[in-house]
Symmetry: C2
Subunit: 166 residues, 2 copies
């Protein structure tokens, strides 16, 4: 049983880590000027999507019960409000540092979650709901967030000068 759980945790964290590495490779390739552009005419800017991903991932500390957000003000700026609603955003340089801080801390806290704990209830689901829907566990949140990274990665790739490779 523990082996099965470990295998599944490995599958999901493998997907999550692969998407983060892919995003980091793209962020390393894009300069600050490119990240200030809209990914497509009239759509979100790179800076907003970068902040959005950080804010959504920073929320994981709370959802998984391992801590509190490192940048609690990001949620209002990059999740609750759309792009351009707030004039003063953190700088790209600041966001690059925040990305590193959040993901380094998340990696540390993920290391402390045991295979059994990954299959426990997360904080956005009630005990009653979890009793009838045990797939709504902590690991499922990470599975869903990994896919969410891909959603925005498909957009951020448009900031590159070359055609996207699919």
């Amino acid at each position: 049983m523990a082996d099965q759980k470990e295998l599944f945790v490995k599958m999901v964290l493998g997907s999550w880590n692969a998407k983060l590495r892919q995003t980091e490779a793209l962020l390393a390739e894009l300069n600050d000027e490119q990240l200030l552009q809209e990914v497509a005419p009239g759509k979100n800017r790179g800076i907003y999507l970068l902040g959005h991903l950080i804010a959504v991932h920073d929320k994981l500390f709370y959802i998984l019960g391992t801590g509190n957000p490192i940048f609690p003000d990001y949620e209002e700026i990059f999740v609750n409000k759309p792009d351009r609603a707030i004039n003063e955003l953190p700088s790209i340089q600041e966001l690059r540092q925040s990305w590193s801080a959040v993901h380094a801390q998340l990696a540390n806290s993920f290391d402390l979650v045991s295979p059994d704990q990954w299959f426990e209830r997360h904080r956005l689901v009630s005990e009653a709901d979890f009793a009838t829907a045990p797939h709504r566990n902590k690991l499922n949140v990470v599975l869903s967030r990994a896919s969410h990274v891909d959603y925005h990665l498909g957009q951020l790739i448009f900031l590159k000068k070359q055609e996207p490779i699919i």
Copy 2:
């Protein structure tokens, strides 16, 4: 053990099905003219991305060992070649039908895969590699493909007239 596996399968197929339903809702909203547009200037057209998703999913029959592609010619057009390399694409109407055909057939074949079988080796990994990397199983392919849908969904959403909701 069987219960654990069933739960994992439910998590991954739940993610896969959610992404397909989300794509289908978008496809129902987009008319053929919109699908002929580029998702962003100089980027892939909607028609190409639609064919690309069908082709990639049609390949799953082979990878999972449950059959053969229904539209074997799509791989050359929508995976091996980039958009605009081939002049004569299937029509949008034809692609909408192919989408339905492939996903109906996939749903049927997924129903026949037992929880144990989902954790078996898929056809793109050798027996030797699988022995040391058991996470490279059939279920992991579907997990990865569900995320791949999200990648292109983040692009196809740009064909809508409204701002994307993130």
